[in-house]
């Protein structure tokens, strides 16, 4: 008989309850975490590689931003469980990012305004 505070789940369906209206939220299994980490390592390697490749110099900045966005999203969605947990957490985080981006744009515009 299972203890009252445990549930049965397959290795690839590791489940923890969220208290959000009694819904089940699935957290990744260790194997999935390792797969994500391998992807992160490969993207980082690609990021460093393009830094040294002269042929992509014209596209270097967009490429680096793309790689950074991929890495950022993978960590936030899988390791921080935003993909699996209540969307309220994601809304808080996105609100902070939106504030930071607004601040960045405002300061950049302000400096250009004063520079001209």
């Amino acid at each position: 008989m299972e203890p009252a505070d445990t549930v049965q789940a397959t290795e690839h369906e590791v489940r923890t309850t969220t208290p959000h209206r009694g819904r089940w939220a699935r957290h990744p299994s260790p194997k999935e975490y390792i797969r994500i980490a391998i992807v992160l390592a490969l993207v980082t390697a690609a990021e460093v590689a393009v830094y040294y490749i002269e042929g992509v110099a014209d596209f270097l900045i967009p490429l680096l931003f793309l790689f950074a966005v991929i890495k950022f999203s993978l960590v936030a969605m899988w390791f921080m469980h935003l993909r699996f947990d209540s969307r309220t957490y994601a809304r808080f985080f996105v609100l902070g990012i939106a504030g930071a981006v607004t601040l960045y744009i405002a300061v950049l515009l302000m400096f250009r305004t004063f520079a001209t």
Binding site: E2, P3, D5, T6, V7, Q8, A9, T10, E11, V14, R15, T16, T17, T18, P19, H20, R21, H27, P28, S29, P30, Y33, I34, I36, A37, L40, A41, T44, E47, V48, Y51, L60, I61, L64, F65, F67, A68, K71, F72, V75, A76, W78, F79, M80, S86, T88, Y89, F92, F93, L95, G96, I97, G99, A100, V101, L103, Y104, V107, L108, F111
Partner: protein, 204 residues
């Protein structure tokens, strides 16, 4: 054949809240959202003053990309060990949790040690906090990040130590998850810093 594993239902044990979500986890996300603004301001300062130094050393004079790349790999690896620690405590595997928490702390120490070495090298090459705007914005941004990593290491070691006194068990998996959220946050901040500060080329 699929392996059966027992997973502790830890989140259901929190007190009833109006949101239906654990207040501690919500508070951690709120804190992280505010910390995004802090780092947003610091990164903005760095970018705004990029290329405006009138005296050297300039970024290209001091940066060692292969060295910093290794540091980035180390911090990414620590995020993996952190989630493995969380998965272990959710399974009720206290021994593995301790192992992964310690590994995470050691990887964090390696990163901070690398940063101290980098700062020392830059200082010896003539870049101090007051040398030029690059030095000021660079040291403040990466220094704040290093301080965050250091605080994270202290949290990890606290969890590790408390686990021996029976104060961190399967029912406390939420505490490990909260420390994990903070740890992954410093990792994603570094992802941005590594790209914006180190990899995007800049002139003097």
């Amino acid at each position: 054949m699929q392996e059966q594993v027992g997973i502790h239902v830890y989140e259901s044990e929190h007190e009833a809240t109006s949101t239906g979500l654990p207040s501690t986890k919500l508070a951690m996300w709120l804190f992280l959202a505010s910390d995004v603004l802090l780092f947003g301001a610091l990164i903005t300062s760095y970018v705004v003053y990029r290329g405006r130094s009138v005296v050297g050393p300039y970024p290209n004079d001091v940066f060692d990309i292969p060295y910093t790349s290794v540091s980035s790999f180390v911090l990414l690896a620590s995020s993996l060990t952190m989630v493995l620690a969380l998965a272990a405590i959710q399974r009720g595997d206290l021994g593995r949790m301790r192992l992964w928490l310690l590994a995470t702390a050691l990887l964090g120490m390696t990163f901070v040690g690398g940063q101290v070495y980098e700062f020392t090298t830059f200082y010896e090459e003539g870049l101090s906090l007051t040398t030029n705007v690059f030095g000021t914005t660079f040291y403040v941004l990466t220094g704040f990040h290093g301080a965050h990593v250091t605080i994270g290491i202290l949290m990890l070691l606290t969890l590790f130590t408390l686990s021996f006194g029976g104060k961190v068990g399967q029912k406390d998996a939420m505490s490990v998850e909260l420390v994990g959220l903070y740890w992954h946050f410093v990792d994603i901040v570094w992802i941005v810093i590594f790209t914006v500060v180190y990899l995007i080329p800049t002139g003097p």
